[in-house]
């Protein structure tokens, strides 16, 4: 049975007199432990889908089924409790945290809110989470703006896995990172997936990265699905016009490299 099933999801925005269909009748599903990539040019609706799936915004139409339940039917405390299973990592890790927060507080929040660990036990749990994402416990007291971008994204991942989710939505989570740091974060994500069977919705416009880490890919254009299928099959031989354009536009080293 699939972990997340999205059917006929639709969301439009009014922009002056015009209505923009940001997401237009989109359906897809994800199995446990699987990585599904959402790729497409800017404005194709990738982030809107992420926000819909996380119930940060409400759809105009469509269904979202998560872990066998109607996710759109939840509200209030029931929704907040279910959120432990469904987490998100944002593109800009600096914007994704309260500017006044410290690393410890950022990781303390989910543990406290969901009663995952008693107060006395939390510092130990925080240290363990930091270690899990390849950081040491001594970054805990530091302010969020006092650590590097790569470290920050690790903290964001630590926060996302604190509640033991079955699905994490990563919206351009590695796009703002340096190439070398990006590789390490991708390795970390794969490692977590292997050990805890976490599924990912991996949003990116970089097809090279998508091809390297996703099982399946959904290519979007103008809020609609242009093409979907096995990541390597789709990217190696795209059928849709947008797929071909995206592949053609990707910078390549092998054109120069012998």
């Amino acid at each position: 049975m699939s972990l997340l099933t999205v059917s006929n999801l639709t969301k439009s925005y009014r922009c002056g007199s015009k209505t923009i269909a940001a997401v237009d009748d989109v359906s897809f599903h994800i199995d446990p432990g699987e990585t599904l990539a959402l790729a497409g040019p800017s404005g194709s609706g990738k982030s809107t889908i992420a926000r819909l799936v996380l119930r940060l915004i409400e759809p105009d139409a469509g269904r979202i089924e998560f872990e066998g339940n109607d996710f759109l039917a939840l509200s209030g405390a029931a929704l907040r409790a279910r959120r432990t299973r469904l987490q998100m990592v944002f593109q800009d890790p600096l914007a994704a945290f309260n500017p006044r927060a410290t690393v410890a507080r950022v990781l303390d929040d989910p543990l406290r809110i969901h009663g995952i660990a008693a107060r006395a036990e939390r510092p130990r749990r925080i240290a363990a989470l930091l270690e899990r994402v390849g950081l040491t416990a001594d970054v805990a007291p530091r302010a969020i703006h006092e650590i590097s971008g790569g470290q920050r994204q690790r903290v964001a991942i630590a926060r996302a896995i604190a509640t033991k989710p079955s699905l994490i939505v990563l919206d351009e989570a590695v796009s703002a990172l340096d190439v070398s740091v990006r590789g390490q974060i991708l390795e970390l994500l794969l490692d977590l997936q292997r050990q805890e069977r976490i599924a990912y919705v991996f949003i990116s416009h970089d097809l090279g990265v998508v091809r390297a880490i996703a099982h399946r890919v959904v290519l979007l254009e103008g809020g609609q699905i242009a093409e979907s299928g096995d990541a390597r099959t789709v990217i190696d031989a795209p059928q849709s016009a947008i797929g071909k354009a995206l592949v053609a536009a990707a910078p390549r080293l092998n054109r120069i490299r012998p």
Binding site: G33, T35, P41, S42, G43, G149, D178, V179, S180, R182, G183, L186, E187, L190, D191, Q193, R194, H205, D206, L207, G208, V209, R211, A212, I213, A214, H215, R232, I235, D236, A245, L246, V247, A248, A249, A250, P251, R252, L253, N254, R255, I256, R257, P258
Partner: protein, 271 residues
């Protein structure tokens, strides 16, 4: 091969909260007239600092040692005449909305550069602005002249910023992460546009990026920076094909292209 600018022992230190940060350490580099030179390196390696120092735009809180000598063909004395930002050097930044004035029409912003540096009258400057918008292949240049920046998409804004940067016919165009905020399709379009404009006008290009593949597609020479030092400088084919520095090799290996070995296999998840 004539140098447009020659950088000798350039050292830049920033003062911040009482301590000094060395952003560039004794850099020696010649920028050849008419070449496309890429500067690559990780975040904080000093790429932007180099661009600002070349353009003479360093903030006051910084200390600069060493020399940047210019051999501008336009200057009669052909000596060390300082170039003029806007006229001799065009700048394109990563975030186009930050370099465009939100309350001025796009046409006026471009025309202003032509008016100030080329001594044109306003009507001539506007005509020049329109022809520039055509050159950067903006659809419907007439209505774009009247548009405000917020009415344009990211890619369109970046074209406007490029049009403004080349309005005065600079000798050197500096693009600092000019395509990093765009998606790959727009990025490829902007890179093609820069390449065409540089070729048509015989401009020299300094292209700053942390994406080695992108830099390799555009540049003839690549300079690799790390921790404020110039690690390696060479022709693109040599840097990409036979780098002498281990760090350059790490950068190349970190690139995940469409032909990269999937990370997924190593994770063994496919079953």
């Amino acid at each position: 091969m004539t140098a447009l600018a020659s950088i000798r022992d350039l050292t830049v230190t920033y003062r911040r909260d009482g301590n000094e940060v060395a952003a560039l350490k004794t850099i020696n580099l010649d920028i050849v007239a008419g070449e496309r030179l890429a500067i690559i390196g990780e975040s904080g390696s000093g790429k932007s600092t180099l661009a600002l120092a070349i353009a003479g735009l360093m903030p006051r809180s910084s200390r600069i040692e060493g020399r940047v000598d210019w051999l501008l063909p336009s200057s009669p004395s052909s000596g060390a005449k300082a170039p003029l930002g806007g006229r001799d050097i065009g700048f394109v930044f990563q975030d186009p909305s930050a370099s465009l004035d939100p309350v001025m029409t796009v046409g006026k912003q471009i025309a202003e550069v032509a008016y100030t540096h080329l001594g044109l009258t306003w009507p001539q400057a506007y005509a020049k602005a329109k022809s520039l918008l055509e050159r950067v292949r903006l659809p419907d240049p007439d209505s774009a002249l009247q548009a405000f920046p917020h009415q344009l998409s990211g890619g369109q804004k970046q074209r406007i910023a490029i049009a403004a940067a080349i309005a005065a016919g600079p000798k050197l165009l500096i693009a600092d992460e000019a395509t990093s905020a765009l998606d790959t399709i727009l990025q490829a379009e902007i890179v093609a546009l820069i390449r065409r404009l540089v070729a048509e006008d015989g401009m020299t290009l300094l292209f700053i990026s942390h994406d080695i593949a992108l830099a390799a597609e555009l540049a003839e020479r690549i300079a690799v920076f790390r921790h404020g030092e110039l690690l390696e400088l060479g022709m693109t084919a040599q840097i990409v094909g036979a780098p002498t520095q281990a760090y350059t090799r790490t950068l190349l290996d970190a690139h995940i292209g469409l032909d990269a070995a999937p990370l997924l296999n190593r994770a063994g998840l496919d079953a």
